[in-house]
């Protein structure tokens, strides 16, 4: 039911840690005033992007959200280029013109994070349409949040993807809150997966803090999409440890709730499974963690050493 090749499993462990360290550093440097603008951190949700992207190949495509750092890293985004972009530097992914909410790497299928809630849905439909049109067996994944699921664009996209049987997997990251609004106050259903039935596609709920559950569901949905059987909706129940953005006082949720979710931290949980099942020793895992921590530290150095873009770059790249 699950291909549990050691390399794949350890890659997932590496990716989750990469996201964790990356976001922790972003949090630190944002607090220190060295990162401008807004940042929306993925801390606590690492298992979702990791499990989904582990089921994808390089030429498969993703569309992302505000909270996109994790998706980009899991899809193979470069640490240095990402960090430099978030620092607003010339050597960043987008020459410092996009920032945290607009990171893309078309060479590895990252069609862009998105500053508009629900903005990625129609784009993912187009990406999946391009796969179907070219007949190349690639698939697209649309990451979207519980907030985005109430946008018309998302519903239009679910419908069109199903009507056209597109190779598209909708991955809902349900972290319970659309900025400050609890999901229970925003919608009459608790399971966004229930909405799949309205579009005649499979809708499943998985534990978004269990990377293997996410990975297995994604593998099956991706395979289904590749075989031409159309889209699926996977709802991953998870939680963001930080506020919607850095600086959010989180007055809308309780410390107890946060503590409960922190106890479900997907990373130690996965580490325990790996050691327990004798896939890896603790020493091997520690080596991975150290290697990732060093790579993230190097990315910060890379970002800090990169210059800011100069005014001559201002009006470049408006048109092709």
């Amino acid at each position: 039911m699950m291909q549990t090749d050691k390399t794949v499993l350890l890659d997932m462990f590496r990716t989750m840690n990469k996201i964790r360290f990356f976001e922790s550093e972003v949090q630190k440097f944002f607090a220190a005033g060295q990162i401008p603008g807004f940042v929306h951190l993925y801390l606590g949700e690492e298992a979702v992007a990791t499990g989904v992207c582990a089921a994808l190949g390089k030429s498969d495509m993703i569309t992302s959200t505000h909270r996109g750092h994790g998706h980009c890293l899991a899809k193979g985004g470069d640490l240095n280029l990402m960090m430099a972009e978030i620092f607003g530097r010339l050597d960043g992914y987008c020459k410092g013109k996009g920032g945290s909410m607009h990171i893309a790497d078309f060479n590895i299928g990252i069609l862009g994070a998105n500053g508009i809630v629900g903005g990625g849905g129609p784009l993912s439909v187009g990406a999946a349409l391009s796969c179907q049109y070219k007949g190349n067996k690639d698939v697209a994944v649309c990451f979207f949040g519980d907030g985005a699921s109430n946008q018309g664009t998302t519903q239009e996209s679910l419908n069109l993807a199903s009507a056209w049987k597109l190779p598209l997997v909708f991955v809902n990251e349900n972290n319970g809150y659309a900025i400050s609004l609890a999901q229970r106050k925003a919608m009459a259903v608790t399971d966004i997966a229930d909405r799949a039935a309205a579009y005649d596609m499979p809708g499943v709920v998985v534990d978004g803090n269990d990377v293997l559950a996410v990975y297995e569901a994604a593998q099956q949905a991706v395979e289904r999409a590749r075989e031409g059987q159309g889209p699926s909706l996977i709802e991953c129940k998870t939680y963001r440890w930080r506020g919607h953005f850095e600086g959010d006082a989180c007055v809308y949720r309780s410390e107890e709730e946060l503590a409960e979710w922190k106890a479900k931290d997907p990373i130690p949980r996965f580490a325990r499974q790996l050691v327990d099942r004798e896939v890896a020793t603790q020493a091997e895992l520690d080596a991975i963690t150290n290697e990732v921590a060093e790579a993230v530290a190097a990315a910060v150095r890379f970002a800090e050493q990169s210059p800011y873009p100069s005014e001559e770059h201002l009006v470049e790249d408006v048109y092709a």
Binding site: M1, T4, V189, A193, V206, D210, L212, I234, K237
Partner: protein, 331 residues
């Protein structure tokens, strides 16, 4: 006089909707079913209902649209810290037993019913199907299910006239009972629980069935093509799928999903007789990968000496008819 109500908001939503053709059982339908159950309970004269609170507020939502004169007068939530996991169901069943409920009505699939029985092996259970592969829960109209549970709970009909004892499986790890299964235990060559469901027979090395019959769905359908073990027969079936196959069986192990299984041997399980689990891996209980076995663990499965009491809706209502509980002679 109290009736317990457990409605699982998470049932009917697992990966079998992708790997097979399972229904998406939305929670709105569970709300409607709870309304119908409550009218049945009211009709039977039940005065008090205790329910499991859940993230979807299934019972609270049901009450919003159900007039007071069509439901039992007292309907209260059990009070405990919700974790939104299977453990909520286990805990709810424990609390229902402690609170003196006479019967528990459980909405969910095999997995939900199993969790409820883990919480209480003493309370009679009426499990209604809102899950995926349902062998243990019944597909019956919620209104009459409520009525049946109600007349047993209220004492209008003695409990033993409406129940039967269903055989269940116990899983022993290192000599201690660790878990139970209501229908089937599958030994999977998996390292991880993952998305829980089981759909790939190539990865199953043994099956233990508390019951099986030819028209089943799920893993027990495999045994059902070989022998018929009624739920209260006091026998179960053990299948070895690992050795050289002596025969192959085709059966529907998930909705819309037929597979072939090669059977090396089968043997009838009698109550109390233990069957060793030959390899480490993951045990799938009632269709859900759940219990991880380590290399050093020794595990075995047995048909429990004592099963669980199950409310039989047709039998109950038939007994009610013969006692003319709902038909009165005029004049």
């Amino acid at each position: 006089m109290k009736v317990g109500l457990i409605a699982n908001p998470a049932s009917g939503k697992d990966i079998r909707r992708i790997v097979a053709h399972g229904s998406v059982f939305d929670n709105q339908e569970k709300v409607r079913m709870v309304r119908r159950i409550l009218t049945g309970l009211r009709e039977a004269g039940v005065e008090e209902v205790l329910f499991m609170p859940d993230s979807y507020a299934i019972v609270e939502r049901a009450l919003l649209d159900l007039p007071a004169d069509r439901r039992p007068p007292s309907i209260e939530p059990l009070v405990y810290w919700q974790h939104n996991t299977q453990e909520d169901t286990v805990r709810a069943a424990e609390l229902l037993e402690e609170a003196g409920a006479a019967v528990m009505i459980v909405l969910g699939g095999d997995g939900t019913a199993r969790a409820a029985c883990r919480g209480s092996r003493n309370l009679p259970i009426l499990a209604l199907s809102t899950g995926t592969n349902n062998v243990f829960p019944v597909m019956t109209e919620a209104t009459v299910a409520g009525l049946a549970a109600g007349i047993l709970a209220s004492g209008a009909l003695p409990m033993d006239k409406g129940c039967y004892e269903a055989d269940i499986l116990e899983i022993l790890v290192n000599g201690e009972v660790r878990d139970l299964a209501l229908v089937d235990v599958a030994v999977a060559r998996e390292a991880f629980v993952g998305s829980r469901a089981v759909w790939d027979m190539d990865r199953i090395s043994a099956l233990f069935l508390a019951r099986c019959k030819a028209d089943s769905i799920g893993l027990s359908a495999i045994g059902g093509q070989i022998v018929h073990c009624a739920p209260d027969s006091g026998t179960g079936l053990a299948l070895d799928l690992q050795g050289p196959a002596q025969r192959t069986v085709r059966a529907a192990i998930a909705p819309g999903l037929f597979v072939s299984a090669g059977i090396a041997s089968h043997s009838i399980m009698h109550k109390g007789e233990t069957f060793a689990v030959e390899q480490s891996g993951v045990l799938a209980l009632d269709g859900e990968r759940d219990l991880v076995l380590h290399k050093k663990d020794t595990a075995c499965v047995r048909l429990a000496l004592r099963g669980v009491q199950v409310v039989d809706v047709p039998k109950t209502l038939e007994a009610a008819r013969t006692r003319t509980l709902f038909a009165r002679q005029i004049g």
